[in-house]
Amino acid sequence: MHLYALLFSQTWAWWAGGLGLGLTALAFAWFTGQKLGVSGNVEAVCAYAAPKTKVAPSWRGLWFLLGLPLGGFLANLGHWNWTWLYGRMDGLSLGSFVLKAVLLFIGGLLVGFGARWAGGCTSGFSLMGISRGNWMALLATLGFLVSGVITAQILYKVF
């Protein structure tokens, strides 16, 4: 019963989660010979709709992206349900569903645009880049965090 809760409903301590993510990325590198990166896969899919880009279009990354929600499903199997609730975002959007949708869309847009501009996201840069001593990855990760801190302070401390 405890094991079931640990595997399918509880969240984990920082060290356990980090260990899992690290080992997954390592195993991915070992078995596929490739660098794990989420936003790069999204970019390869989007490249079909941007014919002038240098990025090679590929839909195969969709298999990996499809796995992600499966993992999210399994991790919460013990208490799984559909929900529109979204933490403190519900307060930020003043209880307005439309405002929440717009804010989330803009946030996602900034994340997608910024990730590819920077050249990677939290997986390809912060995990796979820093661990290999890539300076751009370290710099970009600091940029992610500094900008996130500033944005959060403005949104939740000023307003």
Binding site: W14, L68, P69, G71, L110, V111, W117, S126, L155
Partner: protein, 151 residues
Amino acid sequence: MAPKKKTAKKTAAPQVPAWALILFGTLFGYFLSKSRATDFDTVLNMFLFTDTQLYGVIAVAVIVIALGLFILGRKHKAFAAQVKGWDNPPLDRKRLIGSFVFGAGWALAGICPGAVFTQLGEGKLSALFALAGLFVGVLVFLRVAPKLLKK
């Protein structure tokens, strides 16, 4: 960058089977969820310095990967060569602006690209809006990219 390699690239990299990609995606999503990286409040509290969870998660993951790549690479030269061949984006001030754009979105929507896909599996329907934004954002970037990057 190197148009000559275009044909070589296609045959050089062996295709990873779909089941393996799904398996690794599932594992990654599972641990993202367990780490609380998919939880809006946890992400926000990282930026507000009221929860150090995700700083710890990133630090441990980076150490595990760095150590693992080092140890595996020492014993297996072919693997080390493969890892060396991964592309490393060069230092570029303009890319730093991109990272600030990313950070603003991360704090506003509480998602990084991996987390938003995972949230859908967790049943968080609101993630659909952020996911739509993600694809539009990447697509818009691809269309304007030549103006924003070196060369």
